[in-house]
């Protein structure tokens, strides 16, 4: 556990020492703020359903930029050789890096909680619904980070890693649009794969076992694949 925390601290330190983290932070919050005020002004409703949808969509673009260097940079600079020759398990390396990135995106999400206080001040929002929405967006982002980590472990080229992440995330996000071309179990499967359908439930305060299983199993699967990827590609 100590090593996971050490690696997470190093990841976070590395992020905050590079300008990209601050650019992402400022840019993301600025865009969220613009959409928040536009949506509140238009809908005149004390809820965050639409802003959650905007956040979900924008995170698809932001997360790959954040995660592309996690392993790619270690590979290109050779520091992966250092990490993997210390008495640290590959699981600890993957979890440490995951935790570091997750804390960073949690900070971004945490900063948007100001929206709740604003609508609470002006109206009477459904607190449970907003809480569930935040749980949903956090789970979704946690899932996206795990996808970004896997693609970053595939290559030493950060741009390639980011593009691979975009491909997977776009497929997951837009897969619901292909449902009409299929029937029966395939249709249900594609619907289940789409991130949009799961966040929709959480956005209206509805939490189901199916949604939780989707996010948690997705995170676990991508982290396990990342671990296998760093093992296999370096040992082949």
């Amino acid at each position: 556990m100590n090593k996971i925390i050490s690696i997470a601290k190093k990841e976070l330190g590395g992020l905050f020492k590079s300008p990209i983290a601050y650019i992402i932070l400022v840019l993301t919050i600025s865009i969220f703020n613009i959409f928040f005020f536009m949506l509140i002004d238009e809908n005149r409703e004390a809820n965050l359903r639409d802003i959650f949808k905007v956040m979900e969509f924008l995170f698809i673009f932001i997360i790959p930029i954040l995660t592309m260097k996690i392993f790619s940079e270690e590979k290109s600079t050779g520091t992966i050789e250092f990490l993997m020759t210390t008495p640290t398990t590959n699981t600890a390396i993957v979890l440490g890096k995951y935790l570091g990135s997750l804390i960073f995106v949690s900070v971004i999400i945490g900063m948007t909680t100001i929206y709740y206080f604003i609508i609470e001040y002006f109206g009477q929002p459904d607190r449970i619904e907003i809480f569930m929405g935040y749980i949903g967006i956090w789970l979704e982002v946690a899932f996206f980070v795990s996808v970004g980590m896997l693609t970053s472990s595939w290559t030493r080229n950060q741009i390639l890693a980011a593009i691979s992440s975009y491909v997977i995330l776009f497929l997951l996000y837009f897969s619901i649009n292909f449902v009409k071309y299929f029937e029966g179990p395939v249709e249900s499967f594609i619907q289940y794969l789409s991130t949009m359908s799961h966040l929709e439930n959480l956005g209206i305060g509805l939490i189901t076992i199916g949604d939780l299983v989707y996010y948690l199993s997705g995170i676990v699967i991508f982290l396990v694949l990342t671990r296998l990827s760093i093992e296999n590609r370096l040992r082949s």
Partner: protein
């Protein structure tokens, strides 16, 4: 300390190491010599568990590296060919991170960091960001990282590669000071490095060990090696660049000399 038996490594269809076997005793200083692509780095990476061998067995300190990798890694200090540094970190923070990953107990970490800073003569740059350091300093920080856990076995992959002559002398001096009470394996291209540091030489060629001898017996069994060890062709080139012929950083590699002598010997026999 290190026993390798019939170690073979394939990368896809490419044979990188073939039936490599050797033993290294505790406290021995061994130099791996060979041209680029000879298999030195692959062998070192297998010894550190970074890569796994396709077949064969390696034990370090009595433990099988394929079965007890974590325990073996605790006993090893490793400096890859390119020092594995995080440019945005400060030297001290990097060494602390290394100490944490290498299981140095937290109460001894600070003491151990001060010790290696002193040993590697980098105390004055401990609060500097790695990005701003010269290549020589970076190499020393890399070496400091490799000894932070006080390893029984120190593996250094071309520790003087790419350094200028003054930095080479500084790093060699540092390695000479580190060798006491440790088993050291280093790879190099340079004969004088082996002469100064190592007791034994393993020459690799195309993934095979072609020589495994103590430096003394190698020189005794090939008297002409002594005369030709500071070879002519390469030094001539170096002297054209303004370096003196007795500059030890620019000697012909031992492997080149050795192979040349063998070729000469076989040609003479043919005649």
């Amino acid at each position: 300390m290190v026993i390798a038996k019939n170690v073979t490594k394939y990368f896809g269809g490419f044979l990188a190491l073939k039936d490599v076997s050797f033993e290294i005793n505790k406290g021995e200083i061994v130099g791996f010599l060979g041209q680029n692509g000879a298999g030195k780095t692959t062998l070192m990476r297998i010894l550190t568990s970074y890569l796994s061998a396709t077949s064969g067995k390696i034990t370090i300190g009595g433990k099988d590296i394929s079965k007890d990798s974590l325990a073996v890694r605790k006993k090893i200090g490793y400096l890859p060919e390119t020092p594995p540094l995080y440019p945005s970190m400060k030297v001290r923070d990097y060494l602390k991170f290394s100490a944490e990953l290498k299981d140095v107990p937290s109460k001894y970490q600070s003491k151990q960091i001060d010790k290696v800073l002193q040993e590697c003569n980098i105390t004055d740059i401990r609060d500097k960001t790695i990005r701003v350091l010269s290549k020589g300093y970076r190499q020393r920080v890399g070496i400091a990282q490799s000894i932070i856990n006080d390893p029984d076995l120190l593996i250094l992959d071309e520790p003087t590669n790419g350094l200028d002559p003054i930095q080479i002398l500084q790093v060699r001096k540092l390695i000479k000071n580190l060798r006491y009470e440790r088993t050291v394996i280093l790879s190099t291209h340079i004969l004088s490095e082996i002469e100064q540091i190592a007791q034994r030489v393993l020459i690799l060629r195309a993934g095979k060990i072609i020589v495994d001898e103590t430096l003394e017996s190698l020189l005794n069994s090939n008297p002409s090696l002594k005369n030709k060890s500071i070879g002519s062709g390469l030094l001539q080139e170096k002297s054209e660049l303004g370096f003196k012929n007795d500059d030890k950083g620019f000697a012909l590699t031992l492997e080149e000399v050795f192979i040349r002598l063998h070729l000469q010997g076989s040609e003479e026999r043919d005649e």
